[in-house]
């Protein structure tokens, strides 16, 4: 043990116990197995040991299945659906970020935000119409779309109302997912919308398209042609299988990096126009009211942001020792280039390790080794993207955008770890 310690100094990289990540690399593992430190996950494993052969080793296991399901022990991990009064399908459900690892959100736990429920669409009867300022208005069946060349890309979608509770005067109670779970990340596969617009023959004077869904709200948004031609995808598949109904089956418009509402689900119509249509969901909603009473309209990209998912409220720490701080970072303006973590309330910061792959407009997982001394601590993370944007503190954000903004909250999240191991949301 003393020898291991000599070989692997526990090099502090920032205050209050943040350690160089090499503590978790191969030599670090040897050191840990030597028993010098308690390597604890935020969810402590059962301490029970036994010499008995477990019952599941004494009988043949269950058979195969046509469509798999997760372990029953994991069924408690749920989204938390909340509907508007008088409705069952207007509202949202949030991804339990604190219970997940890696960069991909399981499709069944991808967040939802619907304006009039989830339509039950028969794909054989679904059509996509492209019309307006085109030479040839065209109708596509799902069979036709399935024959087009496809591309796969990993992107996050974040509702622009995510983390809205950050505007509250007092810090809201809740898990990381309760506060920040209107963001998820998937591999999306589908057809480049630019190909279809070229087939329809888009008028060079066209500047916008209207994208419209086939839900009962017929939710619609105006999208710049520039964005459509850049990277808009007609997503048909999510994480390898057809989209789920709650993510827009059978077609979802995917506009990487843009506020989630504009990635119209259940897409039925694209109308090419000279000017924006000024729909209800881009004027009355999803506009950003400033202190002076004026509003910003068409604030499309989601800003650089990060949050520590472990530890976080509900995942209490059990005793001092070595922990891995883990979290997610993302930006609508490109790749994450760095995430810094502080364990002393922001007095000192150290760069976290970024898990590969680090992709543009995708979730990036970051990790940081922390030796918790068992005392009160405030931990936080801040992300920097390739455009040079740095995630602001809550104070900076409110100073810049005001308190009436209501959307696009990307302030730094602080978690207070109390000496009893409980974790809560705090400001500052």
């Amino acid at each position: 043990m003393p020898e291991s310690k000599k070989n692997i100094p526990m090099e502090e990289v920032a205050g209050n116990g943040l350690l160089h990540r090499r503590v978790f690399l191969s030599q670090g593992a040897a050191l840990i197995s030597a028993g010098s430190f308690n390597l604890l996950t935020a969810r402590p494993a059962s301490a029970q040991t036994t010499v008995d052969i477990p019952p599941w080793m004494k009988v043949p296991g269950a058979g195969m299945s046509g469509y798999g399901s997760r372990a029953a022990h994991e069924d408690y991990i749920q989204r938390n659906p909340v509907s508007a009064l008088g409705t069952t399908g207007s509202g949202g459900s949030r991804t339990p970020l604190q219970s997940l690892e890696g960069m991909i959100t399981p499709s069944a736990l991808h967040f939802e935000r619907h304006h009039s429920g989830i339509p039950d669409i028969n794909p054989d009867d679904h059509r996509l119409l492209i019309h307006g300022m085109v030479d040839r208005p065209l109708i596509f069946t799902m069979d036709a779309l399935s024959r087009y060349p496809m591309v796969s890309r990993i992107h996050f979608i974040e509702c622009s109302g995510n983390s809205r509770v950050g505007f509250n005067i007092e810090p809201a109670l809740g898990s990381c997912g309760d506060l920040h779970g209107l963001v998820s990340c998937s591999e999306w596969t589908g057809v480049s919308l630019a190909i279809l617009l070229e087939e329809a023959g888009i008028d060079p004077r066209a500047q916008w398209v209207l994208a419209e869904g086939a839900d009962a709200a017929v939710m619609s948004r105006s999208v710049p042609v520039e964005k459509i031609m850049d990277d808009a995808l007609l997503a048909l598949y999510q994480n390898g299988e057809r989209l789920r109904p709650d993510n827009g089956y059978p077609i979802r418009l995917l506009l990487p990096g843009y506020e989630g509402n504009i990635s119209v689900k259940w897409l039925r119509r694209i109308k090419v126009t000279a000017e924006p249509t000024m729909t209800r969901d881009e004027t009355s909603k999803y506009t950003d009211l400033r202190q002076d009473g004026k509003s910003l309209i068409f604030t499309f990209p989601m800003e650089v942001k990060s949050v520590i998912t472990s530890p976080s409220p509900g995942l209490s720490m059990s005793g001092s020792g070595l922990y891995e701080i883990s979290g997610l970072a993302w930006s609508g303006s490109g790749k994450i280039i760095a995430v810094e973590v502080s364990a002393d309330g922001g007095r000192s910061w150290a760069r976290a390790a970024l898990s590969e792959p680090v992709l543009s407009k995708a979730m990036t997982r970051f990790r940081m080794a922390w030796r918790w001394n068992g005392g009160d601590a405030v931990i936080k993370s801040r992300a920097i993207d390739e455009s040079g944007a740095i995630q602001p503190s809550r104070d900076q954000l409110l100073e810049e955008k005001g308190t009436k903004f209501n959307y696009h909250y990307n302030g730094i999240q602080s978690w207070r770890v109390a000496s009893d191991g409980e974790v809560v949301n705090v400001y500052g």
Binding site: L85, R136, F140, E198, A217, M278, S284, F298
Partner: protein, 180 residues
Amino acid sequence: MFMAKLPATIFVGFIFFILGSQWAFAQNGPNLGVLAASEEIVAWDISISPDGNGLPEGSGTAVGGKSIYMEKCLVCHGQEGSGLLNDRLAGGHGTLDGPAPIKTVGSYWPYATTIFDYVRRAMPYLQPQTLSNEEVYALTAYLLFLNGIIGEDEAMDAQTLPRVKMPNRDNFILAYPGEK
């Protein structure tokens, strides 16, 4: 053999004709879209732009709109658009720059055409796309009247509605493509 006897210019021209007709379509795609008939487009295209493009025939006034509102909208939006289960629709004028902004159709929405578009496509919540165009014009007129923007007997139609200037119209700043 037949081709070989044709003058070369005609042959080349024929090839160009073939290519040209192909070229009229996209070069990259499989071209599997079917031309949409105009009646299909008319049936699908329910969006209304701020210049009034897309507004149908018909008209309505606040007087007519009030009785429809009482029957179909009151339960969610309250007396005279005061808000109940769902959004408040009237009032709030002059509150946006204060400490407690009240966003309503009248205080916040920049375009009157959006009212027609949204009511027709999505309201009433439990029975969307059941209102006639006449009813939508009348409800639009009623909401504008409740907000003091038009008179009680002023008819809203494809010509008058786009000319209504909403009080908050000039307070929106384009974040995209940015101020010019």
